[in-house]
Amino acid sequence: MRDVAVIGVGETEFGELWDRSFRDLGIEAGLKAIQDAKLRSEDIDAVYIGNMSAGKFIDQEHVSALVADYSGLADMHLPTVRVEGGGACGAIALLQARLAIASGMHDIVVVGGAEKMTDVGEVQAAEILSSTADQEWESVFGATFAGLYAMMARRHMHEFGTTREQMAAVAVKNHKNGALNPEAQFQKEITIDAVLQAPWVAEPLGLFDCAPLSDGAAAVVLCEAQRARKFSDTPIRIAGSGQASDFLALHDRRDLTTLDATVIAGKRAFHEAKMMPKDVQVAEVHDNFTISEILAIEDLRFIEKGKGGPATAEGLTALNGKISVNTSGGLKARGQPVGATGVAQAVEIVRQLRGEAGKRQVVGARHGLTHTLGGTGATAVVHLFERGD
């Protein structure tokens, strides 16, 4: 397998971008990444797009060709691929693009992730998010996406004594990080009380325990590692990738407080990278709900099982803490355009490892991790990145 590195990154701002279409967003992120990598369009071998549900959000399928077309690449007749895997689609697209290069089939691939979620109403958007759970045996019966995560939270509280305050600490920390990220949807700090007093969404999760609905796109340019030096002084190598699946429905899983897919994807990625959790200084994990980040830092072995709540409250995962988690603001504060998530996480890690993260720079960051979930954890993807120098 050939080594693969990231040579360019780009993203749009995230938020309720009323005047921007899906096309606008995909193009902006892609062009920024291509510009960052100083590529000519002739250099590109393929385009991979992570997108969860353009069919439902904007009535448009076949978005892989669409994005290439509107990026001015139609005449290149490039192979384009759209990847679907719930919230993990962007991270899977990244993994698939990496494989395409590692195999020798391509040398340079642009990986994009995009979602336009605000062209439908909020109730409808929530229902679309629920469609990554088991429609026939969860959603039909009234289980919302937030409700399913709430049931994990309830069980975590029951088994480990995790508190609402500890979950709120995740939101507070990620908003604090988001305030330092000029592209974040929420660049405003919040308090524990504000989280606790927010209206319920699905008990024990309140409104501020949930990531928002967002529009946005992100893109990275992957290149075969030998060639990467030609384009970038600080190519960021993908050191390991792991993907795993699990029962689609939450109720069928072995354990309601551990996402086995995360555990296994993590093990696979660390194994390939010959790294340990303690080697990682900065991680972007899937915090679509506050409980999700607590599960992730436990299941990725950064924090002992059951201690994710107290660890967060004590600041172990804060910027330049024991491990800096979600420095971008995470899905919670940076925003959650679903298809963009996995790619945006990679963008943040690359910026951190390049030392370009500005006010939220993690000191001495050499190894970074992204963790992305599909559905309620039926898919998990973990990528490990390292500075090439």
Binding site: V123, A126, E127, S130, S131, D134, Q135, E136, W137, E138, S139, V140, F141, G142, A143, T144, A146, G147, L148, A150, M151, M152, R154, R155, H158, P199, W200, V201, A202, E203, P204, L205, F247, A249, L250, H251, D252, L256
Partner: protein, 135 residues
Amino acid sequence: MTLAIPRFWREIQSRYNLIGTKCGSCGKVDFPPRAVCPVCGRKSIGKMQRFQLGGKGSVVTYTVIHDAPAQFEMQKPYVMAIIEMDEGVRLTSQLIDVKPEDVRIGMKVQASFRKLGQEGDAGVIHYGYKFRPAG
């Protein structure tokens, strides 16, 4: 979200009567029915037998839904739970006839028959199980 008629209709047996499967190889009960046993894999193919759950179980975890899908707007806030059936298999269902503040992990519940939703005022009505505290 509305459902296509045949999509719901073909699941009527399981939604009305809790019909699942039992693996002829290891005896594990699954709900809804599975063609392949998650434990035995290939060995179980062709040996999965129709199996009806007794309708009794207990709450493993639960939530009170406040932000509800359109179909459930009239019932909010309502309780959703993961229920472990006496046969060992788990499922997700709404809990009815109970105040949200009275729900507890471990609470015994039993299946009842309720309306799950409808395709607008002119469309088909869907029915199936919901659970209530065991009497």
